[in-house]
């Protein structure tokens, strides 16, 4: 395990040295990684850093409001409302890698505008170690505004947590006094709820995924999963109030892990699973059934796409 205090000293010193008197920008996703990277950078260079949060419409329930509160201490924080532009860009796209690409490109367009507006010379990113190996091994691409340097001519890229695992990043988050909600927040994929919707990303499916993820997070909380969420995986027939429904199938996943490299599907009590099922089908008239994913990693990955 990394030595947190000396890590913070070294990381902030490195940021200060690299950025100097210039301006830097960071994309804040709401996840632990970028939150820690932003807090380290803010501690290092203060308002020379502009944290930018883009609301893609693919965020978790209550996430945008949470960001505004948690990072209220950063006066330079910008929140960009970009929901409609993301859904337009994703219209008709079904391939998982293509989705990631479209989101990454739209993200870059949003971010490019902000970067130019603030005259940022440096880009700070919350890339962690597993992102790098999954990208290098071509298992999944991780956008982390990966293509931005091609569009904006940055002086340099700063990746303060590049050698850390998720559990180590969380240790650092705690030491930085980031609110508990950030330190304990479950991992959330860069492309957001778009990869928790199989096939085309529509506002309807995303709304189902958002509500179902919220239910799963609440109902599994006492079992302390490393990650728990729901995904919209297809359509099936159901019957609700004597009417046939051709509605969404929601797959629930709850896993135990240390570092995300391997994971065990959690053995949840039947009552918990039934309560999840009941809430999701009850609150969403367009959901026909709920299933529980019992596959470990490997052979499955934690997320669906």
């Amino acid at each position: 395990m990394v030595d947190v205090d000396s890590f913070i000293d070294e990381a902030t010193a490195e940021i200060r040295e690299q950025v100097g008197d210039e301006h830097a920008i960071i994309a804040l996703s709401g996840g632990v990684d970028s939150s820690v990277a932003a807090a380290l950078a803010y501690e290092a260079i203060g308002d020379q850093l502009t944290p930018v949060y883009v609301d893609t419409g693919l965020m978790r329930k209550g996430e945008t409001e949470g960001i505004r509160e948690t990072f209220a201490f950063m006066e330079s924080l910008r929140v960009v409302e970009a929901q409609d532009r993301f859904f337009d860009a994703l219209s008709g796209v079904t391939d998982p890698e293509e989705k990631r690409k479209v989101i990454g490109e739209q993200f870059i367009r949003e971010f490019e505008r902000e970067a130019k507006d603030t005259d940022a010379e440096y880009l700070v990113q919350g890339t962690i170690y597993p992102d790098r190996i999954e990208s290098e091994g071509n298992i999944k691409s991780h956008h982390n505004v990966g293509g931005l340097p091609d569009v904006v001519d940055f002086e340099g890229i700063v990746e303060p947590v590049r050698d850390l695992y998720k559990d180590e990043v969380r240790e650092v988050a705690r030491a930085l006094d980031l609110e508990e909600v950030v330190a304990e927040r479950m991992p959330f994929p860069g492309p957001g709820l778009a990869v928790r919707v199989i096939g085309e990303v529509t506002p309807e499916k995303v709304e189902v995924a958002r509500d179902a993820c919220h239910v799963v997070e609440e109902e599994t909380e006492e079992h302390e999963p490393w990650q728990a969420f729901a995904a919209v995986v297809g359509k099936a027939t159901g019957v609700k109030g004597d009417n046939r429904v051709h509605g969404w199938i929601v797959s629930v996943r709850s896993v135990e892990s240390r570092d995300g490299m391997t994971a065990r599907a959690q053995e949840l009590p039947w009552e918990t699973l039934q309560r999840i099922q009941s809430r999701i089908t009850g609150q969403n008239e367009n959901v026909a059934r709920v299933v529980y994913d019992v596959t470990h990693k490997p052979p499955a990955t934690i997320e669906y796409e």
Partner: protein, 183 residues
């Protein structure tokens, strides 16, 4: 201080092998599998897992460096292939949770885990025939040869992943290997 170098065969878990060794307090480093043997200074080597037997670089040469070697997953298969054993597709892919039966409780690497241990695995291929001089040290329902050893030569291999968090006694495998390398 004992120094154990991890040879990277492009595996998903290579970095975790380095981390496991680091957490146990030995001096460690991860190097690419094309590194010339004369540039590697180590009391022991770990051959990591990886996706492809065609991308094992100079692993064959590392077996002749006269230091103990622990082959993990593909690393085990490399040892088997290079020393005259054979590797082939298993009838049943070994993924995630596997209960492994330890066959030799005197084995320096995994004997202390006897009679059985729960491990995390991820492989389609497996060792079919042991090379000469090797002892079959562990087995499971999904894979015949889960581990093999040639203690005289200091060569060891496991088909599963002792470096991942879900392997119950993975740390003990590394501790035993560190003991072997410190002798």
């Amino acid at each position: 201080m004992t120094r154990i170098v991890v040879i990277d065969n492009h595996g998903q878990f290579t970095h975790l092998e380095g981390r496991a060794l680091r957490d146990l307090g030995v001096d460690t480093d991860i190097v690419d599998n094309t590194t010339p043997p004369e540039e590697i200074d180590a009391d022991g080597l770990v051959l990591s897992g990886g996706p492809d037997m065609d991308r094992i670089g100079r692993c064959a040469e590392y077996l002749k460096m006269d230091v103990p070697v622990l082959g993990i997953c593909l690393g085990l298969q490399v040892i088997a292939t290079e020393l005259g054993g054979s590797v082939g597709e298993g009838d049943y892919g070994g993924y995630a949770d596997v209960t492994v039966e330890v066959l030799d409780e005197d084995d320096p690497l995994i004997g202390s885990l006897a009679p059985e241990t729960r491990v995390w695995a991820s492989h389609a291929d497996e060792v079919k025939e042991l090379p000469d001089g090797f002892t079959h040290t562990a087995t499971s329902d999904v894979c015949g040869i889960e581990a093999m050893s040639n203690a005289d030569e200091g060569l060891y291999g496991v088909q599963w992943h002792p470096e991942v968090a879900h392997t119950a006694e993975g740390e003990e495998v590394f501790e035993n290997f560190i003991d072997i390398c410190s002798q």
